[in-house]
């Protein structure tokens, strides 16, 4: 019984990792940009939600709804003013710039919010659970997982059912030919990063409500996000969810065997998948 419970908790934890990873996957899928500041952007989102909650005294979910357009705007401006300038054949400049951005964000947050660890309070929701007989599941982990599914369904709808999604895919395939269709790749990339920042805000909401955070925890979230994206196969959103679940289950199973193995087990699972399927579980057919 304990194992069913452990695996169920792991699957739900995978939802959180999928949320961390979905924004990263979206940006990489469209513009081949590996955003090393992704984890720090999630932490920035968490602080923004915390700020809105503490100033307006509102529910964190409402606060996240207010933070979303702000983060969209931040992502849009970041892409237009900074990242678009370094995108090109050479993958090194964007890596360096986002690495620098990561350091800037961490230090700015440290300056603004100190090194004290913080938490977004969600009231009774934090401890609420549902008894399903064999397992007892927390409401918060279930909400996280459901949100991950909603985010992935929504992103897939945008990708495959809208003109914007068509423009995303065309620009991802071939930006020069896309411009011959009247698409402005720089604008498409800015909107994509804006949407990724909305996903980041949702990830930040659950990060902030489920655990303590401080300005330095971004890079570790980036690693989980990276591993989920790579296990899933670069650019596949459902694959990202599967990747998140694999890491989540590995971590809870590892922790059940020995609490010290929790983090390590997730990384080992990542390496094992990489050994067996170097291109991930659901790679794109072309690249």
């Amino acid at each position: 019984m304990i194992w069913i419970d452990t695996i169920a908790q792991g699957i739900l934890l995978g939802g959180l990792y999928a949320l961390f990873a979905a924004g990263l996957s979206l940006v990489f899928g469209i513009m081949r940009l590996v955003n090393l500041a992704h984890g720090d952007l999630i932490v920035l989102g968490a602080y923004l939600i915390l700020l809105v909650v503490s100033i307006l005294g509102i529910n964190p979910f409402l606060a996240a709804a207010i933070a979303m357009p702000v983060m969209f705007g931040f992502g849009w401006v970041l892409q237009r003013l900074v990242l678009n300038r370094v995108l090109g054949e050479d993958i090194l400049p964007p890596l360096l710039v986002t690495f620098g951005l990561s350091i800037v964000l961490q230090n700015a947050l440290l300056e603004g919010f100190t090194a004290d660890s913080q938490r977004v309070r969600a009231g009774p929701l934090e401890t609420a659970s549902v008894d399903l007989g064999a397992v007892t599941l927390g409401v918060m982990p279930m909400l996280t997982f459901a949100s991950a599914i909603v985010v992935i369904v929504a992103l897939n709808q945008i990708f495959y059912r809208t003109a914007l999604g068509r423009a995303f895919r065309a620009t991802s395939d071939d930006p020069v030919t896309a411009s011959l269709m009247g698409i402005k790749p720089a604008s498409v990339f800015a909107v994509a990063t804006g949407i990724a920042m909305i996903v980041v805000t949702i990830a930040a909401l659950y990060l902030g409500m489920r655990s303590n955070f401080d300005p330095t925890i971004g890079p570790a979230r980036l690693i989980y996000a990276f591993e989920a994206v790579i296990i899933g196969g670069l650019g596949s959103l459902w694959g990202t969810l599967v990747g998140g679940i694999i890491i989540g289950v590995a971590q809870t199973v590892g922790a059940a065997i020995n609490p010290e193995w929790q983090i390590l087990a997730g990384h080992v699972a990542f390496l094992v998948v990489l050994l067996i399927k170097p291109r991930g579980l659901f790679p794109r057919a072309y690249d």
Partner: protein
């Protein structure tokens, strides 16, 4: 006044200059052909007009307006669409999506709609759900042409549309040209197949090493003159 013209157009890639003072003009309803060997600068000329390569503003004029410095996404909005060399369909888009994306840059209505493209190339309707790049070369070329037409261009630039295709397929594709012309587009075709170019064009320009070496109506150009302009050999 010509619909579209290049004026002393020079263009290149970095230090490599590919065009040296090219002057061509296209009138309303006209079809011109650009012929020449590999490396003559034909594709560079198309890319310069389409805005993929940016030039000085005055080097390309469209309806009297200087457009040489505009980027490709604005050029297509003005009404100049290109069928690029090698077709360049988007692999992650279905046939229908490849066609629809061509309408992205232009909002105005015109003759060409998705249905009219399917009427022109019926096979595409049957295959509308499959990935564009899974089609045969000739069918991919039909998608590339439809994708350009759906923006309802005033000028259609066709870069090497017969390259790598079987003669029977080339014939089918060129059979669509009269309807495209009737719908109101002036056309520039870049061709290595001189016979094909002579058949469809009102005027032919032959290029060699980045310059126009011969121009005229097909009926006025002798075989020897074309041979000389094409290969640069003495008559």
């Amino acid at each position: 006044m010509s619909l579209l013209a290049t004026h002393d157009l020079t263009a290149g890639y970095g230090d490599f200059q590919a065009l040296f003072g090219v002057d061509i003009a296209l009138d309303e309803g006209e079809t011109i052909a650009i012929i020449g060997a590999n490396g003559a600068g034909k594709t560079t000329l198309m890319r310069s007009i389409a805005g993929v390569l940016r030039n000085a503003p005055q080097m390309v004029t469209f309806e009297g307006r200087q457009v040489g410095a505009l980027p490709a996404d604005e050029i297509v909005g003005l009404g100049i669409a290109m069928v690029p060399e090698g077709r360049k369909l988007f692999p992650s888009l279905s046939v229908e999506e490849n066609l629809l994306i061509g309408a992205h840059g232009r909002s105005g209505n015109g003759y060409w709609s998705l249905q009219r493209i399917y009427d022109l190339f019926p096979i595409l309707k049957e295959k509308r759900r499959v990935p564009g790049t899974s089609l045969s070369g000739g069918q991919q070329q039909m998608v590339a042409i439809g994708r350009a037409l759906i923006s309802n261009p005033r000028v259609l630039l066709c870069d090497e549309i017969s390259l790598g295709l079987a003669p029977v397929v080339i014939r089918d594709i060129y059979a669509a040209l009269p309807q495209i012309q009737e719908a109101g587009a002036a056309v520039i075709v870049v061709e290595q197949d001189i016979g094909q170019a002579m058949k469809v064009a009102d005027r032919v320009h032959c290029m060699m090493e980045g310059r126009v070496t011969l121009s005229g109506a097909p009926s006025d150009l002798s075989r020897d003159a074309i041979h000389n302009a094409y290969f640069g050999a003495a008559a």
